[in-house]
């Protein structure tokens, strides 16, 4: 490998299409995992808020799942459902839970008591109160969880490349590049996946600012 130049630009130029396809696949896998994971987590969080006693159990289980190295979990899925999107998505979704649930719960817990009391006193129905008051105020922490889950998932999608050539998003190039001792491919896969994660992180920070203008409003100069 030492005689190889570090980057083969001609290969890069010739493969822009497939690379774009892999990026698309990467985003697609991430989106499914994050959406489904969020939906499940929201449900779990609602249960946890209503029945506080269940919350520690939920945390322990989701944390336990998260602790299992992803490689092991993906490999286990191959045995059950082969090199499919399902095999990729099940672990991906499971890994988002421990990042979403505590943040959603904390988000709703963070709504100040006096705001809830005055909302009731002014005549909001419970449903209106949840939608107009609790949900907006829970958003900062919920989006923080979304940020963690998205960035984590983007990283984990690279590992799905072990499931087969048809998967893996940008991780495909890392694995293939390693097997073929082809540095350019590794760089493409590695740097682009890092770049994707960073962009997603920044994008979600921006989203949070947009959704919650009151958190960035500065103290008025008196």
């Amino acid at each position: 490998m030492s005689s190889e130049p570090l980057v083969r630009w001609d290969w890069l130029a010739a493969h822009l299409g497939p690379i774009a396809g892999r990026i698309e696949q990467h985003l697609y896998l991430t989106l499914i995992a994050v959406s489904v994971g969020f939906a499940i987590s929201f449900l779990l969080a609602t249960v946890a808020i209503r029945r506080r006693r269940l919350y520690p159990l939920i945390v322990v289980v989701t944390t336990g799942v998260y602790t299992i190295p992803s490689f092991a979990l993906f490999a286990a899925l191959i045995v059950f459902s082969g090199p499919s999107v399902l095999s990729a998505e099940v672990p991906l979704i499971m890994y988002t839970l421990v990042l979403f649930v505590p943040n959603i719960v904390a988000g709703f817990d963070a709504v100040p008591w006096d705001v809830l009391d005055s909302a009731d006193g002014m005549g909001y129905t419970p449903g209106q109160r949840w939608w107009h008051v609790e949900l907006p105020l829970a958003i900062p922490l919920v989006v923080a969880g979304l940020r963690l889950a998205t960035v984590s998932t983007i990283g984990l999608v690279t590992i799905t490349s072990i499931l087969g050539d048809s998967l893996g998003g940008l991780g495909y190039y890392i694995l293939d590049g390693y097997h073929r001792t082809f540095t350019t491919e590794i760089l493409v896969g590695g740097l682009l996946s890092i770049g994707l994660a960073v962009l997603a992180d920044l994008g979600l920070v921006l989203l949070q600012r947009v959704l919650t203008p009151w958190t960035t409003a500065r103290e008025a100069v008196r």
């Binding site: 490998m1 190295p69 490689f71 092991a72 286990a76 191959i78």
Partner: protein, 231 residues
């Protein structure tokens, strides 16, 4: 059904428990290198984190470190290191070095951030009182701040340990040994017993490590701080 018996058979097979490719050897490999990486990372990150927390300088380092760590896929980190480590040593640079370097790099931030947060989380009033009593900076750090910060620092080490074990597992794809090797081989040989045996071993190692560290954290909290001493 077959999966369970296949796995059980593989785990029970005495041949798996001997030799340089046996379970104990791989386990040792996994633990040794994980331990070494963790220690190296801790030797750098803990003092740095304590210093940043105590003096308050360079705190941007911890924030950007935390962000970077979250955004770095470990798979990418190992992969990206390969072209460079192979220039140092073609053989080990292809199997051992990339994973070990990745383990150290990925273990650093959680330890750094938590060491910083542990110290920074100590009530400033306490520190002022200590200064006012004439304690020197180092005494304050060692005698006051660190004991209070210990549980948070321990959590950081736990996070790093879990990360390191996972990275070592992943490294098997890149030629590293350890327990991940069984998963790789099982997949290559279409031997579900071996594959799943590897999965079980890895999961067990990770969960046990996690549990041990949690116990350690509980032990490290001074009784005066713990809510358990409330009557």
């Amino acid at each position: 059904m077959d999966l369970v018996t296949a796995t059980a058979q593989w785990l029970a097979d005495p041949a798996q428990w001997q030799g340089p490719n046996g379970i104990p050897a791989r386990l040792l490999e996994h633990l040794e290198l994980s331990g070494v990486s963790l220690v190296i990372a801790a030797l750098v990150a803990i003092p740095l984190g304590l210093w940043i927390g105590h003096t308050g300088r360079l705190s941007w380092l911890t924030v950007s470190s935390a962000n970077a760590w979250r955004a770095l896929p470990s798979f990418a980190v190992i992969g990206l290191l390969v072209p460079f480590t192979t220039r140092i040593d073609p053989t080990l640079g292809f199997t051992l070095y990339p994973t070990v370097v990745a383990m150290i790099v990925l273990a650093g931030p959680p330890i750094l951030v938590n060491s910083y947060e542990g110290i920074a989380g100590v009530d400033r009033d306490l520190v002022d009182a200590a200064r006012g009593m004439g304690m020197r900076e180092r005494q304050i750090l060692v005698g006051l701040e660190v004991p209070i910060a210990l549980p948070v620092i321990a959590t950081g080490i736990r996070l790093a340990a879990v990360q390191v074990i996972a990275t070592a597992t992943l490294g098997a794809i890149f030629g590293f040994g350890g327990l991940g090797r069984f998963i790789v081989l099982g997949d290559a040989n279409q031997d579900n017993g071996e594959l799943f045996g590897g999965v079980v071993l890895v999961a067990a190692l990770a969960l046990i490590t996690f549990g041990l560290f949690v116990l350690l954290e509980r032990r490290l909290v001074s009784p005066g701080l713990s809510s358990r001493t409330a009557s």
